[in-house]
C-alpha cells in the first residue's frame, strides 16, 4: 500500500512524477522542467500553425529588446525554424536612447542573437527621428509611454524594412494582450480593441505576428529560467508613467483572485471582433500626406506626434 501524500511532500509532475516547476491552473496540471519546456514549445508551434503566421519564403524580423519576452520568442522561433521551408529570421532591436536602461538590454540582445546564430540589426531613434527619447521627452515625461510606443512601432517597421523582412514577430504574451484589451476598453478605442489578433496589418504593409500571445507571462519567464536564460535587467525608468502599469497591476490582482480572468477577457474580445466589421469600425484607409503610411486620417500618428514634439 502506498504512503499517504503529506502536505510537505514536494509537488510532482502530473505526467512523470519528477519534481514540478510549474502549476498550470487552467490545465489543472503540475509539470516538471522537461514537460513544461515541451509544453511551451509545442503550444507556441501550434499557435503559429493554427493562425498560419509563417509561410514558406518568409523573412521574419524578430523584435528583440533583450527582455524576457523577446528573448523567449527568438529562442522558440529559432528552435522551430527547421520545420518551415525557406524561412529565415533576423533580430531587430530598437534603441530609443534611454540612459541607464537601453545599453544593457542591447548588449543582452546581441548575446542572445549570437547564441542562437541569428543575424542582428539595431535601429535607433537618433538616426530615424534625429533625437533620442530622453531628449524628446524633456518636460513631458508623463507622456513617455505614449510617445515611445508610437515611435518605437515606427522604428521597428523601418528596421524591418531595412533588412527586407516580410513579417515582424513581437513577444507579446497573454498578459500583454489582456492588458491591451482592458486599456482599449478604458480608452474607448474600439478600432484597436477589435484589431485582428492573428496577423495584424492595420498600420503597416508589414504584417505583425505574436506567437506568444497565448502564453501567460509567468510561463514565459519560467521557460527562460528553466533553460538558464533568464536575466535580471534594469527596468525602464519611464514605466511608472504608463496607464499600462496600473492596468497590469489591477489585472494581475484580478487574475490571482479569479483565475481565468485574462482568458475570459480575450474570449470577450474575440466575440466582439466576430460581430463587428473591421472596415466599418476603423473607417476608410487613407495615406498620410507627409510620409505615405496607411492611416485613418490626414496625418499618421507618427507624423502628428513629431509635429507636436517640434513645437
Amino acid at each position: 500500500m502506498g504512503r499517504k501524500k503529506s502536505p510537505v511532500d514536494p509537488p510532482v509532475c502530473s505526467l512523470c512524477e519528477a519534481p514540478a516547476v510549474m502549476n498550470q491552473q487552467y490545465s489543472r496540471r503540475s509539470l516538471c522542467s522537461t514537460h513544461f519546456i515541451n509544453d511551451v514549445e509545442e503550444r507556441v508551434f501550434q499557435v503559429i500553425e493554427k493562425k498560419k503566421m509563417i509561410r514558406a519564403g518568409d523573412r521574419i524580423a524578430v523584435a528583440l529588446s533583450g527582455g524576457k519576452d523577446s528573448t523567449a520568442l527568438l529562442l522558440l522561433l529559432a528552435l522551430h525554424l527547421p520545420k518551415w521551408q525557406d524561412v529565415s529570421l533576423i533580430a531587430v532591436t530598437v534603441d530609443e536612447g534611454i540612459h541607464g536602461y537601453r545599453d544593457e538590454t542591447i548588449r543582452a540582445a546581441e548575446r542572445v542573437a549570437e547564441n542562437v546564430g541569428v543575424e542582428h540589426s539595431v535601429v535607433s531613434f537618433q538616426d530615424l527621428f534625429s533625437d533620442n527619447l530622453d531628449t524628446l521627452l524633456k518636460g513631458r515625461e508623463e507622456q513617455a509611454c505614449t510617445v515611445c510606443g508610437i515611435l518605437r512601432k515606427k522604428a521597428l517597421i523601418e528596421g524591418a524594412k531595412k533588412v527586407r523582412a516580410t513579417k515582424i514577430a513581437t513577444g507579446h504574451n497573454l498578459n500583454d494582450e489582456a492588458q491591451s484589451v482592458l486599456m482599449n476598453v478604458l480608452r474607448g478605442d474600439l478600432p484597436r480593441l477589435v484589431r485582428n489578433s492573428g496577423i495584424d496589418t492595420a498600420d503597416s504593409f508589414l504584417p505583425r505576428i505574436k506567437p506568444l500571445a497565448e502564453i501567460p507571462e509567468k510561463e514565459v519567464a519560467s521557460y527562460l529560467f528553466v533553460k538558464g536564460m533568464f536575466l535580471l535587467l534594469p527596468e525602464c525608468p519611464y514605466r511608472g508613467f504608463a496607464l499600462r502599469a496600473d492596468v497590469r497591476s489591477m489585472l494581475s490582482g484580478l487574475e490571482h483572485r479569479n483565475p481565468g480572468t485574462m482568458l475570459r477577457l480575450m474570449e470577450s474580445r474575440k466575440k466582439i471582433e466576430k460581430y463587428l466589421e473591421w472596415e466599418k469600425v476603423s473607417g476608410p484607409l487613407h495615406r498620410c500626406r507627409q510620409c505615405g503610411d496607411p492611416c485613418s486620417g490626414d496625418l499618421c500618428q507618427v507624423c502628428r506626434l513629431l509635429l507636436s514634439l517640434a513645437r
Binding site: 502536505p7 510537505v8 514536494p10 509537488p11 519534481p19 514540478a20 516547476v21 510549474m22 502549476n23 503540475s30 522542467s33 529588446s65 527582455g67 524576457k68 536602461y101 537601453r102 538590454t105 509611454c145 498578459n175 501567460p216 507571462e217 509567468k218 514565459v220 519567464a221 519560467s222 529560467f225 528553466v226 533568464f230 535580471l232 535587467l233 527596468e235 525602464c236 519611464y238 514605466r239 504608463a242 499600462r244 502599469a245 497590469r248 494581475s252 490582482g253 487574475e255 490571482h256
Partner: protein, 75 residues
C-alpha cells in the same frame, strides 16, 4: 547550566525582488503562503529554491536559499 531549548521554528532567509534580504520567523511554509505574507502576487514573480524553480505549492524551509524574482518589466 542546562541546554538551550530546541527551536520550534527556524528563521528563513529570502532574497527579495529588489535584491534586499528578509528573514521571516517561520518553519516550513508553502511558497504561496510565504508570498502572501510578503504581500507579493505570485503571478508577478517566479520563485527559486537553491537555484531551481518551484511552484506555489512547494514547501520551503530554513536550509533553502529562496529567491523571489519579479518578472514584469517595461520595454
Amino acid at each position: 547550566m542546562g541546554c538551550a531549548p530546541q527551536p520550534t521554528h527556524q528563521d528563513m532567509k529570502i532574497i527579495l525582488p529588489d535584491q534586499g534580504t528578509r528573514v521571516i520567523e517561520r518553519g516550513p511554509v508553502s511558497v504561496e503562503k510565504m508570498l502572501h505574507e510578503l504581500r507579493i502576487n505570485p503571478l508577478e514573480v517566479i520563485v527559486s529554491r537553491n537555484g531551481t524553480l518551484v511552484p506555489e505549492n512547494a514547501v520551503v524551509g530554513a536550509d533553502d536559499e529562496i529567491r523571489i524574482i519579479r518578472i514584469s518589466h517595461g520595454g
